[in-house]
Amino acid sequence: MGAGVAITGIGIISAIGGNVSENYRSLISGKIGIDKITQIETVHKDEIMVGEIKDDNPTLEKRLKFLENQNSRTVLIGCIAAQEAVEQAGILDINDVRTGFISGTTVGGMDKSEQYFYDYFDRPEVRQHITGLHAGDSTKKIADHIGLKEGFVTTISTACSSAANAIMLGARMIKSRQLDRVIVGGTDSLSKFTINGFKTLMILSDTYNTPFDDNRKGLNLGEAAAYLVLESDAIVNKENKTVLGYLKGYGNANDAYHQTASSEHGDGAVLAMQKALEVAGMDPSEIDYVNAHGTATPNNDLSEGRALIRLFNGKVPEFSSTKAFTGHTLAAAGGVEAVYSILGLQNDVIFPNLNYKTQMKEFDISPVTKVKNKPLNTVLSNSFGFGGNCSTLIFSKAK
């Protein structure tokens, strides 16, 4: 089946750090990014906890040398993460080969649109915040920021599996030789729109989220951006590039159950994991660690846990959800967890599933709760979205 698609760069900004190394340090030192919301004025501020990126917009704008208040926070954090990934890949001229950019987002410029919506007619100077609403606008602006002049640029919006699907599409385009290089991942800032939406669904926790715990109360929303650089073997060989890891397998399946809930026994999740293993040419027993979707909602963790038991025929490898650190970063989650999967492979470490206390009643599998050093060759990462959009990525160590 070959080595897979080479990953030559990673970049991230999340509630637990403004770059890859800060994120890694937080993951191994157990530093949680969940707190009271500070940057959005919301009536729910006393009832919810969120994974907010600590820098405010002016700080991010300064870091990027951007004009003040011209862009959505989704664009700002996206630019920071994409830029880090491109820099790490040692790309000097991004237009020297056929390069693409595929970004997952659900909120796009909603954070600013909801702020300036009623000013549209009276204040022409804020209209860019309304025209910047749609998802593709953020993708275009990030593509411009990393200097992409021509090339395949697109947006994927499949709820919480968006970034995973962006990574999958990019890998397929490298494999089918439609692109030589592609920057893939996702970005989502917090917005009232998502806070209110998830509040309505009554799946927000009022305290720290506790994935796979019997007493889990729901998720904390988070914000993040994370991207990978995927490059063809031809480029890796020609330029003698350092490979961080490989994307070996990917799969996407339709749960066919409910708009906003997962099926009782994780049918879509099982199918997505099976497809990813098939693409990777692997047996379930070859997976060393699972970075679970693990949102800490009663529904997800039960459904996903059952799916893991089904897929691995009872012999579930070590698993954990890193959402206790970052919150659920929606469209970016697949990108964030891809970066964490690669960090795990590079450092032979399993990041802990924090806040876990009580064994779930429905089954007897339990997550890794402390930092654990273990040789890792293969990591499976799940991202499941509303609409039953289930995706799985399989990463392997660089040789």
């Binding site: 309505t200 339709n254 066919a256 159950y257 708009q259 049918d267 879509g268 199918l271 609409g387």
Partner: protein, 204 residues
């Protein structure tokens, strides 16, 4: 390697009339879409209470799909992809949602309406009913685009992403609606060609 594909069955719903493979199977004149849809639901003995919470586009697509998929040649577990298209996307429901939030003094958005403000939700409803864990895509075109549907469907089957494809046009905006769905597979009555697709689309 090419393999010839066929249109196995097709269904039309428009002007308060349902036809299956060219034969009118239900008609109820003089009522609005909601009552007409309910009459079709009763006529075809669809025992599925979730039908009544669907938006109108989903009801339309669901009825057409149900007639084709309950055909005994199509077993439940088969890998049937969905490739739908229309012009108005989910505008009909978008407007309903917009009305519920347009006035500050009567601001009552409903999650039950909001979830339908995407056209592909109708494919979700069909997937849920028929347990289709398969590929699906919804395209928005200015007008019916037989060429595009043909190419996409052929590629899904030839690349073994699906065994069969349920495809077509599901358009609804207010009281104007038209569904034309057809099943493509390795056997059937008509050759799967843009010419035949266009011809069937135009015939009632």
């Amino acid at each position: 390697m090419t393999q010839e594909l066929f249109i196995a069955s097709h269904c039309h719903i428009s002007n308060n009339m349902v036809s299956l493979n060219g034969t009118t199977v239900h008609e109820q004149k003089g009522t609005d879409f909601v009552s007409f849809a309910k009459s079709a639901y009763k006529k075809f003995d669809i025992d599925y209470s979730k039908f009544f919470k669907m938006d109108n586009l989903s009801k339309l697509a669901f009825l057409a799909a149900d007639l084709l998929l309950k055909d005994d040649n199509i077993k439940e577990k088969q890998n049937i992809a969905l490739v739908f298209s229309n012009r108005a996307a989910s505008l009909d429901t978008d407007r309903r949602h917009q009305e519920s939030i347009s006035k500050n003094d009567s601001y009552f958005p409903s999650p039950a309406v909001f979830v339908y403000t995407l056209p592909n939700i109708c494919m979700g409803e069909i997937s849920i009913k028929h347990k289709l864990h398969s590929e699906n895509a919804f395209f928005i075109f200015e007008k019916f685009n037989a060429q595009y549907l043909h190419t996409y469907t052929e590629s899904l089957i030839l690349e073994k992403k699906a065994e069969k494809v349920l495809c077509g046009w599901t358009e609804l905006d207010g009281e104007k609606y038209k569904a034309f769905l057809y099943v493509v597979g390795k056997s059937g009555i008509f050759t799967h060609s843009t010419h035949q697709i266009t011809r069937l689309y135009q015939n009632k």
